[in-house]
């Protein structure tokens, strides 16, 4: 076997509370496509950010041709021959194709020689068998063509290690094969390729070797010939569930909301499910599965184009968040900082915000006493740890901020509560409290939609789990059927997902 170009040895990285990478080793060989797979948060992004110099590892080292190297930024990475291509290609829409390829070159002389620039660009593209007009501005390129330009750029820079971070995420099937042909021709020229993908079928189609990460740890690296999709999925999941708070058996009440064939052009299509009072309906899926988009449609922020929504027996269209809130739907966002809360304002002011009209005197002034009383009630009920309800939110921990956001929406007295990643970025204790609360709320008869990328959490908390993948509904599993393997298989688009079991 030839020697590795780039080697990561025992790399660890920690952010505040999360160990993003824990003693991960990985070798990239010339002429090999190395696939890296793992759940959301498995540490893939952190690893490639270390390779490209965005982060520095806490421990461990990086070796290029056997020599340890230090990479401080992407320029340095590029100088070492390490480049990355992301999901959204980084082209300059106003520059033409040839300029896009050569913009980072420092060695093309003091003047731009346009004739030579075009000839060189054409030469590189023809080496890749890509037919593009190099004189046209890049703004009209399809995503696949933009990626071809990025790959041409990488080749022109003599890249030896090319990292491709989910390059196929927004491509059509046709474009994926266009891209894969390029990737193979790049491999055949001796480039080492690290390919990160969420579609298992594609990963297995392109990879020569598959490495699985889970919870920041290295699990396995297997040559393609010895790998099966079942095994990859088993390696990806396999997390312990027992330290989670399991949902008590639900007293399922009346049908609360029924969604049939909900669709939004180019975002999601044919989404159907029912939610009952007292039920927790989990939504599982990987990044890009469009679960949040469905939630935003249900809450009227980005209304769906077509499909039926029946809420409490009444068929209706949800066109605005105001309407959704009046119906009794609340949406607790995943993006606490920018969409969920107003950080410089107090706990009380945040909680009363959506219902401010209820706290007004006849002159239109805010009844502060009542506002504070309500806030204090929630502080007590959800055990928000803060010296007083007048404390600004930015002074609270993530977990307590999360509880304030929940209080804010509970105060609306919703019938249907949509929770989007309610335990992301909060510590274990706060997580358990949030789980407890979800359980209590369901017991009170609320219908709850729980979107979570934390697979054990979804499994433990939900009565039933909807699995989505790239805007499509992949199946509904009830608590008995739902196993990590099955859900992950459905989320990664494996064909043998069990039949839907809808009642």
């Amino acid at each position: 076997m030839t020697n590795a170009i780039l080697e990561m040895r025992h790399v660890s990285k920690r952010f505040d509370m999360t160990q993003a990478l824990d003693d991960v080793s990985l070798s990239l060989y010339p002429g090999e496509i190395h696939a890296l797979v793992g759940e959301n948060g498995a540490g893939k992004s952190t690893l490639i950010k270390i390779m490209t110099g965005v982060y520095r590892p806490d421990r461990g080292e990086m070796l290029l041709d056997g020599q340890p190297i230090q990479v401080h930024n992407s320029q340095e990475a590029q100088a070492f021959g390490i480049a990355a291509i992301y999901q959204e290609p980084m082209v300059y829409p106003d520059l033409n194709v040839a300029e896009n390829i050569f913009i980072s070159h420092a060695d093309r002389g003091p003047f731009v020689r346009w004739g030579k620039l075009y000839r060189d660009a054409e030469a590189i593209l023809s080496k890749l068998d890509v037919k593009l007009d190099v004189r046209m501005p890049a703004r009209g390129l399809t995503l696949a063509a933009q990626q071809a330009v990025e790959i041409a750029k990488a080749i022109s820079l003599d890249v030896r290690v090319l990292i491709m971070d989910e390059p196929t995420a927004s491509l059509s099937a046709h474009e994926v094969s266009q891209l894969f042909r390029l990737v193979r021709s790049l491999r055949d020229q001796g480039v080492a390729i690290l390919f990160i993908g969420h579609r298992l079928e594609e990963v297995l189609r392109i990879a020569d070797r598959v490495t699985v990460l889970r919870d920041g740890r290295w699990i396995s690296s297997t040559p393609r010939s010895e790998v099966t999709s079942e095994q990859v999925i088993r390696d990806m999941v396999g997390r312990a569930i027992d330290d989670f708070f399991a949902k008590s058996e639900a007293q399922r009440g009346e049908l609360l909301m029924s969604v049939n064939g909900l669709a939004k052009h180019n975002i999601f299509s044919d989404i159907s499910f029912d939610v009952y009072q007292g039920e927790v309906l989990g939504f599982a899926g990987l990044i890009g599965s469009r679960r949040t988009d469905v939630a935003l449609a249900l809450f009227g922020v980005e209304p769906a184009d077509s499909g039926e929504i029946t809420f409490e027996g009444q068929e209706l269209e949800i066109r605005s968040p105001q309407q959704a809130a009046e119906l009794g739907i609340a949406y607790v966002t995943e993006d606490r900082r920018s969409l969920g809360l107003i950080m410089p304002m107090s706990i009380a002011a945040n909680i009363s915000l959506p219902m401010l009209r209820k706290y007004l005197t006849r002159l239109g002034l805010i009844k502060q006493k009542e506002e504070l009383a309500v806030a204090a009630e929630y502080q007590d009920r959800l055990s928000i740890r803060a010296p007083s309800v007048l404390v600004e939110l930015e002074k609270l921990s993530g977990g307590n901020q999360q509880k304030v956001m929940l209080s804010k929406w509970l105060n609306v007295r919703p019938k249907l509560l949509i929770l989007d990643e309610p335990t992301r970025g909060i510590d274990v204790g706060a997580k358990a409290e949030v789980h407890h609360m979800i359980n209590d709320l369901a017991a009170e008869g609320l219908g709850i939609i729980l979107i979570s990328s934390d697979l054990p959490e979804v499994l433990a908390m939900s009565d039933r789990v909807v699995v989505m993948r790239e805007g499509r509904h992949m199946g509904i599993f009830d608590q008995q059927e739902a196993t990590q393997e099955r859900i992950m298989a459905a989320a990664m688009g494996q064909a043998h997902a069990p039949a839907e079991s809808r009642q």
Binding site: Y92, S104, V112, K131
Partner: protein, 353 residues
């Protein structure tokens, strides 16, 4: 159609429209104002355009990176005053030294803007709004409300505005117009043929990509502000030569007219598109309108600024609506990639799973 699109780009369509508009505007005014096409009026407008064009070229460099420089008027005023004051006290200073002093002074003020925007990451609007006031205040303090007087300036600078390159009858092509043309052509070439120029477009076109592209984008933005300051300094010198009497309000409002020239001339406020030639054409159009309105008794003085503002809004709106469509039309269906059959692999995959 394909061949046509290769030869003409949307920017050129736009620039032709501005030339056409300028002709139409001149014609309209000539029907309203007696003796409109006079040599005297041409000389006056061309000298005035020269100053705005030089500032507008600097503004173009900054605009291309998706930034603004609102302090150009203050830089022009400050350099005009400072150089004028220096020449008053030292009549023997060589002309070249005086010009370099103006350019250097402007470059320093531009560098201060550039450091804060490029390295301090403060939005350009805030920085240059601050320095707009700051540089003007320093000028007021420094001048102690004194005026630079024409009578005390050396001979050569007083002769400068009337110095000609060539004359056609009474119509003069003045030295200052020549200087402006050289600046425009020089920077047109810089933008087209130097890697620095191309990277200005790249940064404005996609700042996120430029950040990780492996070229020093901060330094490039910084240098754009320095160049804009230097050109404003040069314009300050031209301002001094043209008017002789310099007060503390010299150059007031040049930020508005330079931005109007640049935007009307097709430099995108979203960065990434526009040329020095466009800026010159924009400067000609707006200054022609401005100077014609002065001579048109029907219109009150105060409407001139309003009209500038209206022109900016119209140009931006036209860009948003027409230019974007034009650009997409130009590129649509031109760029496609060869498909490939990946059948063998798909089958191999099928046998594995």
């Amino acid at each position: 159609m394909r061949g046509l699109r290769h030869r003409i780009r949307p920017e050129q369509v736009r620039e032709s429209v501005i030339v056409l508009l300028t002709v139409v505007v001149a014609f309209l005014f000539s029907t309203q104002i007696d003796n409109y096409f006079s040599a005297r009026f041409f000389n006056r407008v061309s000298t005035s355009v020269a100053i705005i064009a030089v500032v507008a070229v600097g503004q173009t460099l900054v605009f291309l990176t998706r930034n603004y420089d609102l302090s150009v008027g203050s830089i022009v005023g400050f350099t005009a005053y400072f150089v004028g004051q220096t020449l008053t006290h030292n009549n023997e200073i060589a002309p070249l030294v005086a010009v370099l002093l103006a350019i250097g002074l402007g470059a320093m003020m531009g560098a201060f803007n550039g450091v804060l925007v490029a390295y301090g990451r403060v939005p350009a609007v805030i920085v240059t709004l601050g320095t707009l006031a700051l540089y003007r205040t320093i000028l007021v303090e420094y001048s102690d409300a004194q005026t630079v007087l024409t009578a005390l300036l050396p001979e050569w600078i007083l002769d400068l505005p009337r110095a000609n390159i060539v004359s056609f009858g009474d119509v003069d092509i003045r030295l200052m117009v020549g200087v402006a043309l050289v600046v425009v052509i020089l920077f047109q070439l810089v933008l087209k043929y130097l890697p620095y120029g191309r990277r200005l477009y790249a940064i404005g076109s996609n700042p996120d990509a430029a950040e990780i592209a492996g070229f020093p984008s901060q330094r490039i933005v910084f240098l754009a502000f320095v160049l804009c300051g230097a050109l404003s300094g040069l314009a300050g010198f031209m301002f001094l030569a043209r008017f002789g009497n310099i007060t503390v309000v010299a150059g007031l409002g040049l930020e508005l007219s330079s931005i109007a020239a640049v935007v009307v001339g097709g430099v995108s406020n979203q960065g990434g598109a526009g040329t020095a030639t466009g800026a010159l054409l924009g400067a000609i159009l707006i200054d022609l309108i401005d100077n014609s309105l002065i001579r048109w008794p029907e219109i009150s003085e105060f409407w001139r600024d309003a009209l500038l503002g209206l022109l900016i809004l119209l140009a931006v709106a036209a860009d948003a609506v027409i230019m974007n469509r034009l650009r997409n039309l130009w590129t649509r269906s031109e760029l496609q990639m060869e498909a490939e059959a990946d059948v063998s692999i798909a089958q191999e995959q099928g046998s594995h799973v």
